[in-house]
């Protein structure tokens, strides 16, 4: 299909362009900021799979992100290789997503949402009380200075990793969107009762979406410990992950893989720039404000605004 080919050509071009950045951008801070923005691309895209496509709100982004991050901490402490940690974190997050879904998706949608919030707090408390994971004091992760591929610093290696993950997430989201899974999820979003009454296996599809969404959020977290080198629960379970992963798809436009990408790039970059001048509090206040503004006045996001023209 023509659009498929155009998309993948675009993916390759962007990969090459962004992948070459370490060769001509000197600022190390740039890669730190870029990492954070790309992390948000993954989180927003993952959230949208369940939120935008199926209509189920997940408040617990931080929980799944943390599962990925802390799986890496466990693997690191046990001396496992990085690649294994990444797979482990993704798998564990997906598993928890499946479990959560199984427990609550047969109830009304809001109960799922509240349960995801509960998951965040419960996991936070468990981590804070578990010395092996660092407890409240945190745990240090020691990373090499050089990149394992022999070129550039370690931060560049992390940048490559998160870039690959971001591209992977967007491909996954787009593939789902254009498949019958995506079609079924959107039918569920539009009218779940009608969907079930017309042959759509709603519970099964919702569980699949929750698992994939959770897994991708975990994926985003798996390299986080290597980046910040000091893991402690407050930063990892920060509710800012939740508000951002909801605000970005809403600002960009729900229901399409492009929306969260736009929202994350835009909102993420703005926040990175603003963080130099504004406090974290002002930052979150503005994100909250942007969320309320868009959800009330521009419910279809930026994509909705541009589609109308």
């Amino acid at each position: 299909m023509k659009t498929n080919r155009a998309f993948y050509i675009g993916v390759v071009l962007i990969s090459l362009l962004l992948g070459s950045l370490p060769f001509w951008v000197q600022s190390e801070y740039f890669f730190f900021a870029a990492y954070t923005v790309l992390q948000f691309v993954i989180l927003a895209t993952a959230w949208n799979i369940l939120g935008g496509y199926a209509g189920y709100v997940n408040f617990g982004t931080a929980a799944f992100f943390a599962i990925g991050a802390y799986s890496t901490v466990v693997g690191y402490k046990l001396g496992w290789p990085q690649g294994y940690n990444i797979l482990l974190g993704t798998f564990m997050a997906g598993l928890i997503g499946l479990g959560m879904g199984y427990l609550t998706l047969r109830l009304k949608g809001v109960f799922f949402s509240i349960a995801t919030l509960a998951l965040s707090v419960v996991l936070n408390t468990i981590v804070t009380n578990t010395p092996f994971l660092g407890g409240a004091r945190g745990v240090y992760v020691i990373v090499p200075r050089e990149s394992p591929i022999g070129v550039g610093q370690y931060i560049h290696w992390l940048f490559f990793l998160i870039l690959a993950m971001a591209i992977f997430s967007v491909i996954v989201a787009r593939t789902i969107e254009k498949s019958s899974l995506g079609q079924g999820l959107m039918a569920i979003r539009d009218d779940e009762l009608a969907a079930e009454g017309l042959g759509v296996p709603t519970l099964r599809l919702k569980l699949i979406a929750t698992t994939i969404s959770g897994a991708l959020m975990g994926l985003a977290g798996t390299t986080f410990p290597y980046l910040i080198t000091y893991m402690e629960p407050t930063a990892t379970f920060n509710l800012s992950f939740a508000v951002n992963s909801i605000a970005m798809p809403i600002v960009g436009g729900l229901g399409s893989w492009l929306g969260p990408l736009i929202g994350a790039l835009l909102l993420g970059t703005i926040q990175q720039v603003a963080s130099v001048t504004l406090s974290a509090t002002w930052n979150l206040l503005i994100v909250g404000g942007v969320l309320v503004f868009f959800v009330t006045l521009a419910p279809n996001g930026l994509m909705g605004i541009f589609k109308k023209k």
Partner: protein, 292 residues
């Protein structure tokens, strides 16, 4: 482990007293979520707002928090009315409603309010000192601190008053009716939207009131609101969604559970109690103890 009976007794008593207060905190959610199906996840932050207003009035004018509670009631009611109007217009009016965006709306409000409180009042803990904050009644091995006792008594009174209100006044019965059959209400010439607006205003009024009581019990800081989200929703669900007496019962259970956990396992486990109980309820008995 050497569990002294003394410690156990007092943990239970504190838990019960606290539980009564938790019922007041959750009462607003029982109305807005239990009866009206509005998921105001920002409810606890309105409680914090009430606490801070009471603190401020106490700090600058020496007002007792209970007096402040009464003074701020009309403002919170109007705030609730206005917010509901926006919520209804954007998220409920259209056929089928838009629950996702409605949820996101309140989530955004949660953030805006919490950050505003942070900017206005800072991260430090704030508390009030009234004449009775440190006093205690001693009954043998049992201690009844005034700072728990007074909010407990007020909460029970509030709960009973609201319950009576729903049973005997026209408005109260209209709210119960709108939850069960909005169409019938319309046919009787009552505007369900108006009723829901008033009810939502009432839920925020109660939130502000409980905030003023909260600051009598303990010191507050802006982020504390988030911890209470689990609490109020756990109580509401466990109590059977809109069942007022169920709310009281569930709140007591939660209060005692938290108190025991803090006493015997340590306070660092406390946040998980309400949220954990919520998860368990949703997983195994989502209709609550008293639901059908």
């Amino acid at each position: 482990m050497d569990i002294s009976l003394d410690l156990l007794f007092n943990a239970i008593i504190s838990g019960l007293l606290l539980g009564g207060f938790y019922a007041a905190m959750s009462l607003g959610i029982s109305i807005s979520f239990g009866m009206l199906d509005i998921v105001n996840i920002a409810h606890p932050v309105f409680i914090m707002l009430g606490a801070y207003v009471a603190w401020w009035l106490n700090e600058h004018f020496g007002f007792d928090p209970i007096l402040s509670a009464l003074l701020m009631s009309p403002f919170f009611f109007l705030m609730g009315l206005s917010i509901y109007r926006i919520y209804y217009d954007r998220f409920e009016k259209s056929a089928g409603g838009d629950s996702l965006r409605g949820l996101a709306f309140f989530f955004g409000i949660l953030f805006i309010l919490e950050m505003l409180l942070l900017l206005l009042f800072g991260v430090d803990y704030r508390n009030v000192n009234t004449g009775y904050t440190d006093a205690t009644i001693n009954l043998g091995i049992v201690n009844l601190p005034y700072r728990l006792l007074i909010p407990f008594v007020l909460s029970i009174c509030l709960l009973l008053a609201i319950r009576q209100f729903f049973k005997s006044t026209y408005f109260g019965r209209a709210v119960s009716a709108v939850a069960q059959d909005p169409l019938a209400l319309q046919l009787m010439g009552v505007n369900p939207v108006k009723i829901k607006g008033y009810a939502f205003g009432l839920s925020l009024l109660i939130a502000g009131f409980s905030g003023a009581m909260l600051i009598i019990i303990q010191s507050v800081q802006p982020a504390a609101g988030r911890d209470y989200i689990g609490l109020v929703f756990a109580v509401c669900v466990l109590g059977g969604m809109g069942n007022l007496m169920g709310t009281l019962f569930a709140a007591m259970i939660l209060g005692v559970a938290e108190s025991m956990t803090a006493t015997f396992a340590g306070p660092s486990w406390s946040p998980a109690v309400s949220f954990g109980l919520l998860l368990l309820t949703l997983a195994f008995r989502p209709q609550g103890i008293f639901g059908k």
